[in-house]
């Protein structure tokens, strides 16, 4: 049971890293990004091909590179490449597109990438994917405690990511992003370079998605197109909306409920109630229904975003006349 919980938690925590990143895009800035999972995959694949030895016919695998990098370096590489991917797509898609069109573009990019990677074997092994990455650090930690060790590492990374995202939210940068979400035109009218701010938020989110993907493959040791498609996008969006879009704690709670309680809970159903082949379709249906119910009855989510209070630090004399820049 403890082993089961540990494994579940690793999946939840890596998903949380991705969700916090998506929250910066969707929650703070209001960008409906439907290709977050694509950045997860790119981060994961890149990490695999950087950390694994070159593909040989003997293994039956095909993939590029195979550089035998140490795992932490490969994670960094995966994160950066996912961020670059976000930068390229974002710099084109955000230039003139408003919310709905942006969502459609990201959806199309996600599908195109999914089909391309799935059908082009030399890159990342096509639909067979890549597998066989040894558990990072297992030679030091040993097999017995490796899961706990890896959970701890993931948890520390999530903590850092969480503090980073929360810091940005409370700073003027995060406030500008939220202003863009509320009214892009008014933000522009007050001198905000909407394109630039959106692009920065988009790249940060893509980096974090890549980081989540990299940590995920460190655990699974494998990745194939079957594990990152539109159902996984639905999981991410549902977790964010359920927990509370814009609220980082809410997003983590949402992910624990969705990827933890619901997904893992389904495996405890009495045998024979739902046949194994139907398990994952039912899962997707539950997420979809849950998303609709939340949007209908509590669109702000379980833990809604709250604007920070203005705390008066010390009683000081109020300025009565605002300063004006004199016209010369």
């Amino acid at each position: 049971m403890l082993a089961f919980i540990t494994v579940s938690l690793i999946l939840v925590v890596t998903n949380c890293i991705v969700a916090v990143g998506l929250n910066i895009q969707l929650g703070y800035t209001g960008m409906v990004n439907l290709m977050s999972i694509t950045c997860v995959a790119i981060g994961g694949y890149t990490t695999l091909v950087l950390a694994m030895p070159p593909a040989t016919p003997a293994t039956g695998l095909t993939y590029v590179l195979g550089l035998n990098w140490p795992f932490p370096l490969a994670v960094l590489g995966g994160t950066v490449v996912a961020g670059l991917f976000g930068l390229i797509v974002g710099s084109v898609a955000l230039r003139r597109l408003r919310a709905h069109y942006f969502a459609i573009v990201t959806f199309c990019v996600a599908e195109i990438t999914h089909q391309s990677i799935g059908n082009f074997n030399p890159l990342f092994g096509g639909f067979n994917g890549i597998y066989g990455l040894p558990q990072p650090g297992v030679d030091v930690i040993g097999y017995d405690n490796w899961n706990y060790f890896y959970l701890l590492v993931c948890f520390v990374i999530l903590a850092i990511v969480f503090v980073f995202a929360e810091y940005l939210r409370r700073r003027p940068f995060g406030r500008a992003l939220r202003a863009i979400r509320e009214d892009q035109d008014a933000a522009q009218a007050f001198g905000r370079n909407v394109y630039r701010l959106q692009l920065e938020a988009f790249v940060i989110g893509s980096l974090l998605a890549g980081l989540g993907g990299a940590m995920l493959v460190g655990f699974t040791g494998a990745l194939d197109p079957g594990s990152w498609g539109s159902p996984e996008t639905l999981v991410l969006i549902t977790a964010i909306i359920l927990g509370g879009s814009g609220n980082n704690l809410g997003v983590v709670v949402g992910m624990v409920l969705v990827a933890g309680v619901i997904t893992q809970g389904l495996t405890f159903l009495p045998a024979g109630l739902i046949s194994n082949t139907l398990l994952s379709p039912v899962e997707v249906m539950i997420y979809g229904a849950l998303l609709i119910v939340v949007l209908r009855f509590r669109p702000e989510g379980l833990l809604p975003e709250r604007p920070p209070r203005d705390v008066i630090k010390e009683p000081r004399r109020r300025l009565t006349a605002p300063h004006v820049v004199a016209e010369d």
């Binding site: 500008a176 008014a186 933000a187 009218a189 605002p322």
Partner: protein
Amino acid sequence: MLLEVDGLAKEFGGVHAVQDFSLSMDAGEVVGLIGPNGAGKSTVITLVAGFTRQDKGTVRFGDTDISHMPVHRRARLGLVRTFQLARVWGRLSVMENMLVAASSPPRESLWRQFTAPRAQRAEEDLDRERARGVLAEFELLRLKDEPAERLSGGQKRLLEFARIVMAQPRLVLLDEPSASLSPAMSRRIGESILHLTSLGIAVLLVEHDLSLVEDTCSRIVCMAASRVIAEGSMESLRSNELVVQAYLGAALEERDLSKAAGA
């Protein structure tokens, strides 16, 4: 000269929205822009603010040719606009609305969030204090922690004016600030416009409430059917046959009727 618009023209799908529009404004001046619906007044605002690009003509602001400048860069030079519907950042608190208006893009740069948090915090504290003063003047201080979306229509308008005070632009383009507000609130808007001018902010006012225009503007431009048809004081416009025919006749009649109904 603060603003110099020369020969501005814009077509939408073959329909002339604005033709040959020229206007000069001095620093601190309040100019009214009136005319019947569809005359092209709002298009002038969107063109000068940069939300749409003109087909012809130039816009100079201060010493700079801003004809092809994106909106946010015009705003940074001190040219701000409002919209026909009050547009506040709804899920930001009233105070946050003020701070966004006051803070500059450098303060929000991603890099500076990490390199200069102290300096940033000091700037923010100064702005907060100033914002509290401005909010008090607009009777919004007790609402400072409320999400702006909870404000009434009139309060949202006032918050817009308070934001402009925070942003300290050189020119603000007001697009029908009294639209859909009560007469009492309309007077309040008039006071707010004078408040802006007392701070040295020039105002270009598009408005249908002619008494509001008369009370605040020293010079009035009248448009009809995409062109400027007259310019001058309200007095001179009243005696202008063209203006009375195109706009004032109907507008004054309506105003007299509503006055009679009110009395």
